[in-house]
C-alpha cells in the first residue's frame, strides 16, 4: 500500500531532488523521489528543536525566570532525577545524551498528531537509528569508563567457571537490546496510527479522537521508556564493582 507523500516531502522532492540523490549516491542508491517522508520529518523535528532551544537560551534568567524557563526546568529536573536514580554517581557525564534522546524521541512521536505531518518513528528505520545510536553509545561509554579488557570481562559474569554458559547468553541479550528498543517504539507508534485510522473508517467522525488521546499518552510513555532503558544500559555498562 503506497501512501501519497506529505506536502513537505513533496516540496523537498520537487526542488531538492538532486541533493537527495547525491546523498543516496554515497551508498550507491538512486531514486526518482529520493526524500522519504521520515527523512523530511526528522529534519523538521531537528529544526523545531533547534528553534525552540534558540528561543529559550536568551530568555534564561536566574532572578526572573519566565514560563518558558519553568517548563524546561521541569524537563531538566525530571531527566536529572532519573539519571541520579538509575546511573548514580557518574551520571552527569552522560546526561546530555539522555536528555537529547528523550527530547528527540518525544518530539518525533508527538509531531504525528498534527494533521499534515507524520511521526518519523512510524517508519522502521527511524527507531532503528535511535536504537543503534544508543547501542553504540552505551558500549563506547562502558569501554571509556572501565577499559576494554574489564568491559569484555563483564560478559563472563560473576563466577569464572560459568563463563562458557554466561558469555553466549550475555552476547545474545546485548544484541537483543537494540532489537527490542526498535520494535517497541516502532510497533507502538505504527499501531497507534493504524488504530485511529481503522476506527475512523468504522465509526463517526470525532470518536477516534479517544484513540488519538491514547496515542499521545503512549507517545509520552514510549519516549520516557526509551530514555529509561538507555539509562539502565549505560548504568550496567559503567558499573564499577565496588
Amino acid at each position: 500500500m503506497h501512501e501519497p507523500e506529505l506536502w513537505l516531502t513533496k516540496i523537498f522532492n520537487d526542488h531538492l531532488a538532486s541533493l537527495g540523490n547525491s546523498l543516496l549516491g554515497l551508498v550507491g542508491l538512486h531514486n526518482d523521489r529520493p526524500w522519504a517522508d521520515y527523512i523530511v520529518m526528522q529534519i523538521l523535528v531537528a529544526a523545531i528543536i533547534l528553534l525552540v532551544f534558540a528561543l529559550l537560551r536568551p530568555r534564561l534568567s536566574v532572578s526572573k525566570p519566565g514560563k518558558f524557563q519553568h517548563i524546561f526546568e521541569l524537563i531538566y529536573d525530571f531527566v536529572q532525577g532519573q539519571t541520579k536514580e538509575q546511573v548514580g554517581h557518574g551520571g552527569h557525564h552522560y546526561f546530555a545524551y539522555f536528555g537529547t534522546i528523550f527530547i528527540f524521541v518525544l518530539f518525533m512521536n508527538l509531531i504525528g498528531v498534527i494533521p499534515g505531518f507524520e511521526s518519523p518513528t512510524m517508519s522502521a528505520p527511524v527507531p532503528l537509528g535511535c536504537a543503534l545510536a544508543t547501542f553504540c553509545y552505551y558500549n563506547i561509554v562502558g569501554v571509556q569508563a572501565n577499559g576494554i579488557v574489564k568491559y569484555l570481562a563483564h560478559f563472563a559474569g560473576p563466577i569464572w567457571w560459568m563463563a562458557p554458559l554466561m558469555i553466549p547468553i550475555e552476547i545474545v541479550s546485548h544484541l537483543a537490546r537494540p532489537l527490542s528498543l526498535t520494535l517497541r517504539l516502532y510497533a507502538n507508534m505504527y499501531a497507534g496510527e493504524q488504530v485511529t485510522m481503522t476506527f475512523l473508517g468504522l465509526t463517526y467522525f470525532l470518536v477516534p479522537a479517544v484513540f488519538m488521546g491514547l496515542h499521545v499518552f503512549v507517545s509520552l510513555l514510549q519516549a520516557y521508556i526509551f530514555m529509561l532503558l538507555t539509562m539502565l544500559y549505560v548504568a550496567g555498562a559503567t558499573a564499577h564493582d565496588h
Binding site: 546530555a96 547501542f135 553504540c136 520494535l183 517497541r184 510497533a187 507502538n188 505504527y190 521508556i225
Partner: protein
Amino acid sequence: MTKKFVVLLFLLLCATSMLCAQTPAGTAPAAADWAVPVSAGFAMAIASGLCGLAQAKAIAACAEGMARNPGSADNIKFALLLGLILIESLALYTLVIIILKVK
C-alpha cells in the same frame, strides 16, 4: 565529549549501517494464501490475551504493595511502569511479524 569519542561513535555508526543491506525475498505458493491472515489473527489474539494476563498480575501485585506500604509508592510505581512497558513490548513483537508478513 572529546574529539576521539566523536570519531569512534561515527565509525561505529557507519559500521552498523552495513546491517541495512537488503536481501531479496522469496514468494509463498498461491494455494496457501489463506493461511497467513488466519494464523495472524490467532497469533495476535493469543499474544494479546497472554499479555493482558501478565499485565493483570503485575498491576495486582503493585496495587497490593502500594496499599500495604504507601511510603514506597514511588518505587513501586516506577517498577510497575517499567514492567508494564516490557510486557507490552512482547505482544508488540507479534504485531510486528503480522505487519511484516500479512499483505
